[in-house]
Structures are given as C-alpha cells and as structure tokens.
Subunit: 203 residues, 2 copies
C-alpha cells in the first residue's frame, strides 16, 4: 500500500462491497418494456425513473410538506431485495403468496453486507416503503404504481396484452395510488379509460 489511510477502512470496505453487490440490480428485469419497446426495463433504471417522478410530481402528494429526501431514499432502495427474490409482477397473485418470505431472506443477506448502522437504516427504509403507513411511503408507492402504467400506455399496452390484463385488474391493483395522491389517481384512471378507448387494454 502506498498510502497510510487514517480512515476506518473496515467500515469503508463493507460499504464498497455493498455498492459492488447492488450492481446486480441492473440485471433484474421487469415485465415492463421501455417506451420504444426495444427491451424490458431493469430495476436499476426503474428506480432512477421513479426518483425523477418523485422529484417532479411531489406537488400532487395528498400531504403537504412531504420529506422528499425520505421519499427518494425509499425509492432508491425499494427493489434491492429483488436481486435475490426476483421481480414479482404486480398481477401475479401466486407470486405474491411467498413474496414477503423471499424478500425477507434477501434483505437479510444483502443489507447485512453494510456496517450495522447503515444496514438498519436501509432495512427501516424498506419496511417503511412496504408498510405504506407514512405520507412519504404512500407517495413513493403511488409513483411506483404510476410509472408502469405510463409505460404500458405509451407502449400501446405491451405488458397488459402479453399477460391478458383487463382494465378492472389495472384499476384494482393501482387504486392505492389514491392514498399517496388523489390527483395522480384521477390521472391514472384517465389513462386507463383512454387505454381502453384506444384498444390498448381490455375492458
């Protein structure tokens, strides 16, 4: 070593190991295709895109004075467990049966790479996102539902058609958007209505 490092290398090495590990999120592919339909979207891109939605659309959150940093932190980490657990399609009811157990095991392995304080912080962010009990989690969850809707609409219903999804299913699975943003839920319903009109989605 050329340098004598006075920083806590053990701590930094754990952080770097985690940063290297989570590169794998770029290999977790979702059912959603990109806007030009050239390929499926991966979780890392999706997490970036959601963060942009949060940044641009927070004015529509039901609650005022949202802590936007908290929203974005949750979004950035919300899919990390899928590195081990895989992506569960929102309309896959069977996949949802053991989703929590698969994701818990993943969180245990992946988050534990970090120093303990940060491992706890990431776990708490993930728990907050999953439980949807705070204004920030409800809004983060709302944009997580809205973004695939946009992708489906602008790709003429690509994933909807592929999986035989109906407008009733879309409205039922996405109605929690209203808990984060009544305005974005109105907009989402308008998208679903237009999608049916244009033949992108079965009634």
């Amino acid at each position: 070593m050329i340098l004598s490092l006075d920083l806590n290398m053990e701590r930094l090495e754990k952080q770097i190991e985690f940063i290297v590990e989570i590169d794998k999120l770029k290999h977790v592919y979702r059912q959603t295709v990109l806007m030009d339909r050239s390929r499926n979207e991966n979780d890392a891109e999706h997490s970036w895109h959601l963060s942009m939605l949060a940044l641009l659309l927070s004015e529509y959150a039901n609650e005022e004075n949202l802590n936007l940093l908290q929203v974005i932190k949750m979004i950035l980490i919300h899919d990390l467990v899928e590195i081990d657990a895989g992506d569960t399609f929102v309309y896959d009811d069977k996949g949802y049966e053991d989703k929590r157990a698969r994701e818990e095991a993943a969180a245990e392995r992946i988050f534990r790479i970090l120093p303990e304080d940060q491992s706890e912080e990431i776990y708490e962010l993930w728990e907050e996102f999953e439980k949807r009990e705070t204004a920030e989690a409800r809004f983060a969850s709302a944009v997580d539902r809205l973004q695939p809707l946009l992708h489906n609409y602008y790709t003429k219903g690509h994933a909807w058609k592929k999986h035989g999804i109906t407008s009733e299913m879309v409205l039922d699975k996405n109605k929690t958007i209203a808990e984060g943003s009544k305005d974005l839920w109105k907009f989402a319903q308008k998208i679903v209505h237009n999608a049916v009109e244009k033949g992108y989605l079965e009634k």
Copy 2:
C-alpha cells in the same frame, strides 16, 4: 373523458411528456461495463448507482451538514443532456472540446419540455453540478468519478485496457475527487495503486 379533472392538466401533461422523454436515458450507453462484464452500463442505471453511493458515503464528504437531497437531485439529472449530446468518455479530450456546446443545446431542448418553474430548477441543478462551486456539487462530482473507478477495478481494468489508459491519466482525471472528499480520494488512489499491482492498469 370519464372524469372531470380539476387539476391543472396542462401542467401535468408537460410533466408527463418530460417523464416519457427521459426514458431515453436508458439507451445512452457508457464506456463502463457492468461488474460482471456482460454489457456496457447505461446512464439511467449509472445515475441510480451514484445516488446510492451518495446515500451511503456522505459521511466522507469534506464539508459537514451536506444537503443530501440537493446532492441526489443533481445526480439524478446530471446526465439528462446526454440523451441528445451522447456520453463523452472522461479520457476523450477531443470530445470535451465541444461537450459544453452540445450539452447546452440538449438542455435547451429537453428541460424546456417541463413547466417553466421546473425547467429552471433542473437547469440550475445541472449548472450547479457542472460548476462544482458548492459543497454538494463537489461531493456529487466526487462520487461520479469514484463509481467508474470501482467498475474498472472490479472488471480487471476492462475500459482502461480497451482505451489504453494509464495510471497517470486516471490520477489526473480523477484528482477532483479530493475537492469533494479527501477520504474517498485516498481510497481512489489506493485502488489505482492496487490496479497497477494487479496488472489491471498500465503504470
């Protein structure tokens, strides 16, 4: 329309148009390859990964009380101009000659899709990042330099070897890391040293 929307649809439509447009960042490929060397990394994934570095490594910033939300906002938007301007490899001195002009034109087209207040906000974030005059911009820029270093190191010098990069060039191009974080710069130098030792990087 089934719903009478009392929200400002003109504003929301501009925001959605922008959100759809920036999906193209997922198609802008960088020189860096993923940790498993299976393919090049794209800008959207890179922006997500950098945000995670910022979230986990802010304790190493030179300045205390960093506004982490500001750091992450800059990171999320810093590569949007590359949708039009393309990625300029950090060691491509010729590409850097007209980089600013290409990116200015891109910012003008892309950011202007947004409502004016948000267009201004994104432009100011981008300017702040580029100028590196604030503590937040210096730290955001530091992680933007550190992440490709990690990718190069853990892929045994993939992009370095491909482009005939030497350790002197790496140290010169990345020394601004020290302006954001002296600690991370020490760590980066250690990586460069180890990379030379292991034959990943020419001396």
